[in-house]
Symmetry: C2
Subunit: 263 residues, 2 copies
């Protein structure tokens, strides 16, 4: 029993009948559990394993790939946490129904969002100052009032049409400077910061709605009293230190905000 391919695994180029092993490169610096994980993932993404279908049991995977059960369980465990598989004690491991959107609510920059929705992101620098934080900014960033922060105001464009006003207050290390030329060359403030070694990884955001005042209406090219969508947020570095407080004021007719949430 236990015959040829067909299993979880890739089709043999030369139809060799032996089962087991294969595909595992033990000389490479890639961990075995990771190779196995990629292998199973390829089966799922490639449609060879479909939703609801059981994958081979752990002990069988051990035999096939000549690895220990710990290794198999590490691969399967990660795939389960990533939402690809579903383990049920006593029954087996099954391919999960695909998630609506892989990953969680993603932290994305305005430029990334615009690009992702198929438009050309643009930016026009309105102001760049180094100034003492007022109380509102200080409290958002967890600073003393009066600590110097960078203030960047930009008009955000999609396909050269204004869609949002972006205000950013940044608390940067004292050896990091922002100059207009950089901000005009690089559309994304975040990639600029990344290049300076500041990685933004987490944010607390609030969305609200307001009506346009005179200046906002003019900048965005909409009538006064038009509805505007406002996204305010505090963005944290990989050290979980608050780095940026921003406020994006966007045309409600051109902008909405989507998130994927879990129970």
């Amino acid at each position: 029993m236990t015959k040829s391919e067909n299993m979880i695994g890739i089709q043999p180029v030369k139809p060799s009948d032996s089962r087991q092993d294969m595909n595992m490169d033990r000389t490479l610096r890639v961990p075995l559990y990771y190779q196995l994980k990629e292998l199973i993932l390829a089966q799922i993404e490639g449609g060879h394993l479909r939703y609801g279908q059981a994958i081979p049991c752990e002990r069988e995977l051990c035999e096939r790939y000549r690895v220990s059960r710990t290794t198999v369980r590490q691969a399967i465990g990660e795939l389960e946490r990533e939402g690809y598989l579903n383990r049920q004690q006593g029954k087996g491991t099954f391919v999960a129904r695909p998630r609506i959107r892989r990953g969680m609510a993603q932290l994305t920059s305005f430029s990334e969002e615009v690009a992702a929705s198929g438009h050309e992101p643009g930016s026009q620098l309105l102001a760049l100052r180094h100034e003492p934080a007022d109380s509102r900014v200080a409290s958002a960033l967890g600073l003393e009032e009066g600590v110097w922060v960078w203030f960047v105001e930009r008009l955000r464009l999609a396909d050269d049409e204004p869609i949002g006003i972006n205000l950013s207050y940044l608390r940067l290390p004292s050896d990091v400077f922002l100059v207009p030329a950089e901000l005009e060359a690089e559309v994304s403030l975040w990639s600029l910061l990344e290049a300076k070694g500041i990685r933004l990884v987490e944010a607390e955001e609030t969305i609200l709605a307001i009506v346009a005042d005179a200046r906002q209406a003019e900048l965005l090219g909409v009538p006064e009293q038009s509805p505007l969508l406002v996204k305010e947020g505090v963005v944290y570095s990989d050290e979980r230190v608050p780095v940026e407080f921003h406020r994006v004021i966007a045309r409600a007719d051109r902008y909405s905000y989507s998130v994927h949430v879990f129970r």
Copy 2:
């Protein structure tokens, strides 16, 4: 050997000096890795282990609690994934800076949100119908047009003041019925569904802004043309089947939407 407390753990009541073991109850049905996890967590939450501080290395934890390294690694691994610890190869394992808000963007019901912000949630049933889905609803729920769905329209209250209009389209099993009395008794539609065995666990939500039309203005008690915040979403069951399409139209002066996002 193997004496009492003091370890990573709690203060000794009677000062006995030996470290190691203890606290692990091997007779109980609680897994050892889980006991260890809770134990370390208690140290962190209790402030005995502070941010940035190293916890004992894995091999030391093995000795102290008389468990294998696999067990220690499972405990530490889960704590790392949950954001409490930070492992660095070659250096050690450190207590992570606390997350801004534990967990991800949480799926919460309107009632839960209102209650969490310190107000008394209320609800007034405006409509309850069983009707064929129109094209918009059908496509949101992934159904054929004309499939029968439940329609629930409610005015949402906070401290008896109207703050939102809630429209829900639900695709329920054919043996599940909604009756006005239930909806009037139970403020939360979701807890009603939960009681009927339908668990909502995941959602794709979009936030936009509009201005109030005549009916909306009257229901919400605001002037026409006031800005309103709209949250639209498709909610999925634990089987990842779309169950509800909803639309919450809320007063922008009383309602905002917060999410915690990750890179």
